[in-house]
């Protein structure tokens, strides 16, 4: 089988398996998987910036929150219908990421991490500052009636799962298309050697800006979908911890692999789920996972697999 054939069948098989699980998974895991798929979209976006382009951002929670609040506030305060509100959230993620990129991409490496961290922190504090509108830490619940789009009601478990799956499928397809496109290859080239790609005539700033904006679009889509599907909007999603989570997922699953973010999100979600059954010290699990990963498996699950056996993995 050709590489393209293998890649297509692998990703279609994953989507088919997720569709199959919709019919057989027990309710508890069914609900979990819907969440994991939305988080995986967020992590995929993170991976486009970090895994493929080498931009280690510590501020992605800002883009997720832009999507979440872009949707939540337009519904809650402006009384918009859910459809336009969702699109607003999606675009808010990309716009915030693009705007931040214009400033932050003037720096690199450690400075880039700190700058993104600082902007995200300022964003979080801003949400708290306008508690009158955003309800701050406490957040607000989007009423079910305001969330339906022309009869499409996302409040039922089944609809929620299928909508999350649809979003995940689109995100996966776009991601796959992106990394196999010219832009995707230039992104990797810049990650590997920025100077050389500049010498070959590419403009690293523009490519990185594009990667960050696409990454923000993903994060915004995940945030908007989170608010729409699960109906809760709160400042907790804008904290540093939500910038760390996608990093963790991507590191665990494998940076620079298309399926890695999903695999990482799935594994981490269940690791925390199982750990919190045994102990309430779930942050400990996150901490130990981070340290162990950077020490012993810096390439993550799929990254290691690709290195050994599956050379064709995108």
């Amino acid at each position: 089988m050709s590489d393209t054939g293998r890649i297509l069948s692998l990703h279609l098989a994953v989507l088919a398996a997720l569709l199959g699980l919709h019919f057989v998974a027990p309710p508890y895991h069914h609900a979990n998987l819907a969440r994991v798929m939305v988080l995986a979209v967020y992590a995929m976006g993170y991976n486009i910036a970090f895994g493929y382009t080498g931009l280690l951002s510590l501020g992605h929670a800002l883009f997720f929150a832009a999507g979440l609040y872009g949707t939540g506030l337009t519904i809650q305060l402006a009384g918009w219908p859910a459809g336009p509100a969702l699109i607003t959230g999606l675009l808010a993620g990309a716009a915030v990421a693009g705007g931040l990129g214009l400033l932050a991409l003037r720096t690199a490496g450690v400075s880039f991490m700190i700058v993104t961290l600082m902007f995200a922190q300022a964003g979080y504090l801003t949400i708290l500052y306008f508690t009158g509108y955003t309800r701050g830490e406490e957040g607000f619940v989007l009423p079910a009636a305001a969330r339906s789009i022309g009869g499409l009601d996302p409040t039922g478990e089944a609809a929620r799962y299928l909508l999350a799956l649809a979003l995940f499928a689109v995100a996966l397809a776009v991601n796959l298309g992106l990394v196999r496109s010219g832009l995707g290859r230039v992104m990797v080239a810049i990650r590997e050697n920025e100077e050389r790609s500049r010498m070959l005539g590419y403009d690293p700033f523009r490519v990185k800006l594009a990667a960050l904006a696409i990454s923000g679009l993903y994060a915004g889509a995940a945030g908007a979908a989170w608010g729409w599907l699960f109906g809760y909007v709160g400042a907790g999603f804008a904290t540093i911890q939500y910038s760390i989570l996608p990093l963790l997922y991507v590191l665990l699953g494998g940076a620079g692999t298309v399926l890695g973010p999903f695999l990482g999100a799935l594994a981490m979600f269940y690791l925390i789920d199982i750990a919190s059954g045994l102990t309430d010290a779930y942050l400990m699990v996150v901490g130990v996972a981070l340290v162990v990963l950077v020490l012993f498996a810096p390439k993550g699950i799929l990254g290691s697999l690709r290195e050994r056996w599956l050379r064709w993995l995108p």
């Binding site: 280690l56 450690v110 700058v115 902007f119 400990m284 901490g287």
Partner: protein
């Protein structure tokens, strides 16, 4: 109270936070300067210092001064030992790669915070000040202990400066900072220097925390603000410059004290974080630094 004394009170409060901040930030800056490691767990080391101080003071019977004095010795040493272990067990094995060490220290931060929550509990707990002296100014009384904190910070910072600029240990550190390869070629055990610097940085944070804990109670989440503010101070002061760090700590500490008396503390923090981000974008060498970091 009229405006003048009000401002004086704000400046005094600002000086106290500047003193604590300078100690914490110098620790962070030292680690970054010599090792090029951004230690995200620095705030966790700060918190650990406060928590250990409470434990020591709580375990020792007798006058509060005795418990406090014991905490002043035990907490920084214990935290420094832990930091040296982290350096040896994690950072060294990562080859001090900037990206990987950030991720690893985030992990350490979570581990330390969770350990403190599990062992120490979610409550904020006070440590008694070693003495209760109240300085009576014409307009208001002011805690003598707070002024002692400022004095102690000045002494420690002078000591750090002396060690760095006059002692052999400081020379070795600076040599490692400027060119690790060459330092190794001259027979300097850079691994030991790195472990020592990392321990010293964490110890300074713990020391600052012990000093602050009679003013502000020990709590397992207390490390967040010092971490963020230390970042701000180190960046504004110019990464790797001790003098700049101290000046920036004064600037930030006092202005934060003054601003938060007159404005909302959240707004003050938003402006400070944005300012730092913009300083990093447009003046990466910091306001006082001379060459690019």
């Amino acid at each position: 109270m009229s405006f003048g004394p009000y401002l004086l009170l704000a400046v005094l409060e600002g000086l106290v936070s500047a003193a604590v901040l300078a100690l914490t930030a110098v620790g962070l800056g030292l680690v970054f300067g010599v090792m090029r490691v951004v230690n995200v767990a620095h705030g966790a080391f700060f918190m650990l210092g406060a928590v250990i101080a409470w434990m020591v003071a709580d375990a020792l019977p007798g006058p509060p001064a005795l418990g406090f004095a014991a905490a002043l010795v035990v907490a920084p040493l214990a935290v420094a030992a832990l930091a040296a272990a982290v350096d040896f067990g994690v950072l060294k094995r990562l080859g001090y790669d900037p990206d990987a060490t950030i991720v690893a220290t985030i992990g350490v931060l979570y581990i330390v915070e969770q350990a403190a929550l599990s062992l120490f509990g979610p409550d904020a707990r006070p440590v008694q000040a070693p003495f209760n002296l109240r300085l009576q100014l014409p307009w208001f009384g002011y805690s003598g202990y707070k002024l002692a904190v400022v004095a102690a910070a000045v002494v420690v910072l002078l000591a750090v400066w002396l060690v760095l600029s006059r002692s052999r240990a400081g020379l070795v550190m600076r040599a490692t900072q400027i060119d690790g390869e060459t330092a190794r070629a001259f027979g300097i055990d850079t691994d030991r220097v790195y472990a020592g610097v990392f321990a010293l940085g964490a110890g300074l944070a713990a020391l600052a925390a012990v000093l602050v804990v009679p003013i502000q109670q020990a709590h397992y989440l207390m490390g967040g603000d010092p971490l963020l503010l230390s970042f701000i101070v180190v960046i504004i002061g110019g990464l790797g410059s001790l003098r700049g760090t101290v000046i920036a700590a004064l600037l930030i500490g006092v202005s934060e004290g003054v601003v938060s008396v007159f404005f909302s503390p959240t707004l003050a923090k938003i402006l400070a974080t944005l300012l730092v981000a913009l300083v990093l974008v447009f003046r990466p060498q910091g306001l006082f630094g001379r060459r690019a970091a």
